[in-house]
Symmetry: C2
Subunit: 263 residues, 2 copies
């Protein structure tokens, strides 16, 4: 494992814009750290693609960020974490963390025994959350449900509409009926619909947003080590104006340094 | 232009499953023709990607189909037609047809003067339909609207739900209010939502599904020339089981010959 130059940036990687929810929390927890965000917008979404393809895309993204001198990689995409985290950890000479284990730890801390996970088709099929939760506590019951329409609803700005509410009811009612007490938002897009999701589940469930717990974990690894001026740089593989627009909504500010790259 | 061996297959290319609506109509019009369908499921959707990226992906798909000995290429994706048709026509030594011009011709034949087009963001931004319609008749008014959520609703099997109906109302009300008399389904996914769309627009608009008119155009080029046993072969770039399931719903039959390829 290489040493971590304190001024080097932390790399944050996602298939598109969803990882910006993680980026936002890392910035909040570590305002002095420089961050480079890479969104693979030319190949988004990852959630419907095969694990083999997601591993290949993730390695290409990680290698690009390594060339930019990152000291640590955060895989801010549940699908990529579920499919590619072990490969990335074996391949890269820097710390690599994903979003599944922090989410699983937070769920264990909150649950009274029955956890629901909503995620993409790819993440659900991998059973990444069930495995991570059962590693920590095999007695917790885990129900995993795909909620694929949440991604386009978030990306298209429909998060707070009546349509989103109705879709949320269809996805969440089986979990409510099953008596789930803690709900993991197992896709980095989903925190954008958190308000709508909370309206549907009411007080019946505690919500786990892995962005916050991932940021806390990042902080525990890098410490408060940053010394220089913090810089934020954004890379996308396609459609930069679309990214700029959506990112401004996610982050509640305009992004300045945006670059189109080819992986 | 090379001659067309009668037994050679026709290639049909789309970013994913939407082009199956065109495939179905070509098969209906020309039951004796062999067809090869290529769905670029590793990089779907194209509708939110830049024209440059869509051109590159389309050329890779077309080159792969050329190696399979196709006698003609049908670009069964509006976004790819809008971005890449001229490049494909210049590059390939076989006839290449898209779905925009057939749709524009059908709209001209039906309209009393005001045409609405619903399509992906990429197709709307290209103004491909407006240009194609105005080439035929500059006096027709053309209103183009993006309807991006229709694609995931179709792909996820929500076409006939109350949610789809509500989304359709949001997208179509401006066109109803504007007095559109003819509506072009400018994305090959949208015919799957035709029933829902018809419920919303009622008798106020004639619907143009470019799959049917494209098939008629293909027939006019190849004639009734096929002699051998017609074969259907499907190629995808990722997630073949997902494709198999959705294709069975689209085509109302199981598909037998499915192959995973890398472009």
């Amino acid at each position: 494992m290489a040493s971590l130059p304190a001024e080097a940036p932390i790399g944050v990687f996602d298939s598109g814009v969803g990882g910006l929810t993680v980026f936002r929390e890392i910035h909040r927890a570590l305002p002095g750290e420089s961050l480079i965000y890479l969104g693979d917008s030319a190949r988004v979404p990852y959630g419907t693609k095969s694990p083999q393809t997601v591993v290949r895309y993730s390695l290409e993204a990680a290698n690009h960020l390594m060339q930019r001198g990152i000291k640590m990689l955060v895989v801010a995409c549940n699908t990529a974490t579920a499919a590619a985290l072990p490969t990335l950890q074996e391949t890269l000479p820097i710390p690599v963390i994903g979003v599944v284990e922090p989410g699983a730890r937070a769920a264990i801390a909150k649950t009274r025994g029955r956890v629901g996970v909503i995620a993409t088709e790819g993440t659900v099929k991998s059973h990444a959350y069930r495995k991570a939760i059962h590693t920590l506590d095999p007695n917790v019951e885990v129900l995993e449900c795909a909620a694929p329409l949440f991604v386009p609803l978030a990306e298209e700005g429909w998060a707070n509409t009546h349509v989103a509410r109705e879709v949320a009811e269809v996805y969440l009612e089986p979990l409510i009926d099953a008596g789930v007490d803690t709900l993991v938002l197992g896709c980095t897009h989903y925190p954008i619909l958190r308000g709508t999701i909370e309206k549907v589940v009411g007080d019946s469930m505690a919500i786990v947003d892995s962005a916050e717990t991932t940021a806390a974990w990042v902080k525990s690894i890098v410490g408060d080590s940053a010394r220089g001026e913090a810089e934020h740089h954004f890379l996308v593989t396609d459609a930069e104006e679309r990214f700029r627009k959506i990112a401004a909504e996610f982050l509640s500010r305009d992004i300045e340094s945006l670059e189109l790259v080819s992986l």
